[in-house]
């Protein structure tokens, strides 16, 4: 086995055996599960939901209203009563299926009127009762509700113009997947960078570096460490993706609700999200994940080699973390405006590209040449990062006390 293989395999084993890896991986799985399941869990725990209502009114109004409210899946009628008490109290709602609100329908001056008594005032407005419009029209015109519903229903079809997605549901799911994957890339780099930096700082402060550098080329050591870190991060993210995919469709619904991108019908079929992954999208993710991770990891390793004590890591962490944070935010903008000129340009900018280029590929049709250029830019960035980091690492690992000045670093790069 060559030097790189020995360093790589040893580093891999060290990382995979480390407690921090398992804590971070399990923690990530737990957080994903919580993010997906928590709203439902807490809703069940609380025994109340704003969508559960007590519906009151004369049967002639109450029954068609119940039909309209439930049909649109806005509400679930937990109790039907002829009239509400003078004062609706939380105890009353508790006694009627732990409802979130009591709703009374009546006719006032010839028009449909709705009185709502909710636990949470902010959860109800006029839009909640838009589904009752056919009933209101029926009262005003005398036409049957079913007929009004039939006439009012507007048939529509969304036609994809770039053939990226076959329908709006697929596009919404793609946004959700892109958001999740970019978030994972971000988390993996943030967490992984700490791991790489700590490992380098440990080697430096414990002076193992001196023995290692006397035995193998510093650049080999650096490559072995960063590639091992990338593989470990990939394993970690793989586990997170599988967790997230297994817990769908809730994840997709959560995203859709947050983004307001489409009706909650998205992923209504309940098919596991893993089947929604386009193999090309997965390939793009893996490509940009590995390239992005390597460029950041190399820079972090070089930065960590400049500190003399692990306590000083904080001083070099902030400047190198900033590009990741910036890239993540631009990727969020790219999710909303994937064809904006700024986003297109950023998909070719080193350090931003892994996030932005992948986001564009996930949510819109990107010309093949742009994908190729983005990949080439990232490959070149990785090579440049390794070149620079290798030199900084070589001088940094043997310098103790005062960190090297910028002129010293530039001198090392010219050597």
């Amino acid at each position: 086995m060559n030097d790189l293989g020995i360093v790589l395999s040893t580093e891999l084993l060290r990382k995979l055996r480390s407690r921090i890896f398992w804590i971070a991986t399990a923690g990530g799985v737990l957080v994903i599960a919580l993010l997906v399941e928590a709203p439902f869990f807490f809703a069940r725990l609380a025994h109340t939901s704003n969508s559960d209502i007590v519906l009151a009114g004369p049967p002639v109004l109450r029954d068609p209203a119940a039909h309209l409210l439930e049909r649109r899946k806005n509400f679930r009628i937990v109790a039907r009563v002829d009239a509400l008490p003078v004062h609706v109290t939380p105890e009353y709602l508790d006694q009627h299926g732990h409802a979130g609100a009591a709703v009374a329908v009546s006719i006032v001056r010839g028009r449909l009127h709705v009185d709502v008594y909710p636990r949470d005032l902010s959860a109800f407005d006029a839009e909640n009762f838009g589904s009752l419009v056919p009933l209101a029209v029926s009262i005003a015109t005398g036409l049957p509700v079913q007929r009004i519903e039939r006439v009012a229903a507007v048939a529509h079809t969304a036609h994809p113009i770039d053939r990226k997605f076959k329908d709006s549901r697929a596009a919404t799911v793609a946004h959700g997947i892109a958001f999740g994957l970019v978030l994972m890339l971000y988390l993996a780099i943030i967490l992984g960078s700490q791991s790489v930096m700590s490992a380098v700082a440990e080697e430096k402060t414990s002076r193992i570096a001196e023995i290692l550098i006397a035995t193998i080329a510093p650049s080999t050591l650096l490559y072995g460490k960063t590639i091992a870190a990338a593989i470990v991060a990939l394993v970690q993210v793989g586990l997170w993706i599988v967790t997230a995919a297994a817990l769908v469709p809730q994840a997709t619904r959560s995203f859709v609700q947050v983004s307001g991108a489409a009706a909650p019908a998205a992923n209504a079929g309940g098919a596991p999200m893993i089947f929604a992954f386009d193999p090309w999208l997965l390939a793009a993710f893996l490509t940009f994940f590995i390239l992005g991770y390597l460029q950041y990891a190399a820079i972090y390793a070089a930065a960590a080699s400049l500190v003399s004590r692990t306590e000083e890591l904080g001083s070099v962490t902030t400047p190198v973390i900033m590009p990741v944070v910036g890239a993540f935010f631009i990727a969020q903008y790219a999710l909303l405006e994937p064809t904006a000129p700024l986003v297109t340009i950023c998909s070719f900018v080193p350090f931003l590209s892994p996030f932005v280029a992948f986001t564009r590929i996930a949510v819109t049709s990107v010309p093949g040449w742009q994908v190729a250029v983005a990949v080439l830019v990232n490959v070149a960035t990785v090579a440049a990062c390794f070149w620079v980091a290798g030199r900084v690492y070589r001088i940094g690992m043997l310098l103790y006390g005062k960190p090297p000045s910028l002129p010293q670093i530039f001198a090392a790069l010219r050597e």
Partner: protein, 298 residues
């Protein structure tokens, strides 16, 4: 043979090594001596290729020291370093593999060295669970696992109790007997004098003296007289014979004289001065030559 020829290395405007030359013969132990900041560690790092000399040359068997050659060297740095959470056995095997030793051979050799250094019972323990002395032994095993042709030991005895220091010394002698060339730096003059065949004393980045102990003694032709008890009349007799202030040792007083001194006459004067219990003329020790070498060229 290792030939270090007029090497020089500065860090910015600060010269760490100005002019150092020496040769290490195959299968010998060579002592590199000097006070803190003299340039010993920088010289060792240049030999190991960690630093590139600004000038001068370092040749091993007549060839420049490149990565392939360095792979045949072993190194125990002054600052100890181990992967704290890695087991002792894994650690030693890892360094063996980095030096090109196949895993199975490295494991076998690691067990041999752990046995020899008395740490075999800790094979599966994490290094950070070991005492400082035992960690040092693990590091020694890591440095010799690949049967190096040249072994560079920077302060190998520091922090070791006398028993462990002796164990380390025994290992050094075994390695030298097996043909390993060893460069040894230490402040433990007694041990280094016992272990090394030749020496190089450096101060402020330059060679102050070099050679075998006999050669150093010929360069600094002095003799040490040890006398007891410590009485004013005996001190006065030495002073009358031109001696400078004595060093006080557990055995009495130690005076340094030029080698050509008439020691018979001196003995007569001292016996006449008081009740002498012992009077012994010795060759100067390495420590005394070391002190003199650094004093004279300061």
């Amino acid at each position: 043979m290792l030939a270090v020829d007029r090497v020089r290395r500065s860090f910015g405007s600060v010269p760490a090594v100005s002019d150092v030359s020496f040769r290490v013969e195959p299968g010998t132990v060579f002592g590199l001596l000097g006070p803190n900041g003299a340039g010993k560690t920088t010289t060792m790092r240049m030999i190991l290729g960690i630093y590139v000399p600004d000038a001068g040359s370092i040749l091993w068997r007549g060839r420049p020291v490149d990565l392939r050659v360095r792979r045949t060297f072993g190194y125990l740095p002054e600052e100890r370093g181990l992967y704290g959470k890695m087991t002792v056995l894994d650690q030693i095997v890892y360094f063996g593999k980095l030096h090109g030793v196949p895993r199975a051979v490295a494991t076998e050799r690691a067990r041999h060295w752990m046995e020899m250094l008395g740490v075999s019972q800790y094979a599966e323990r994490a290094c950070n669970e070991l005492s400082r002395g035992n960690q040092q032994k693990v590091q020694m095993a890591s440095a010799v696992i690949h049967a190096p042709e040249l072994l560079v030991l920077d302060e190998p005895f520091s922090g070791l109790d006398p028993m462990n220091a002796q164990t380390m010394l025994d290992c050094i002698k075994v390695l030298a007997a097996e043909g390993t060339s060893i460069i040894l730096s230490s402040h433990q003059m007694f041990q280094i004098e016992d272990a090394c065949r030749s020496f190089c004393i450096v101060g402020a980045g330059r060679v102050r003296a070099a050679g075998t102990l006999a050669e150093l003694r010929s360069v600094f032709p002095t003799r040490v007289v040890c006398v007891s008890p410590d009485l004013p009349s005996i001190r006065a007799a030495f002073a009358a014979n031109g001696a400078s202030e004595p060093a006080v040792s557990p055995g009495g007083l130690e005076y340094e004289f030029p080698a050509e001194t008439d020691f018979s006459a001196l003995l007569r004067d001292v016996v006449a001065a008081g009740p002498v219990e012992s009077f012994e003329r010795r060759e100067p020790s390495l420590g005394q030559i070391y002190a003199r070498a650094l004093e004279e060229r300061a």
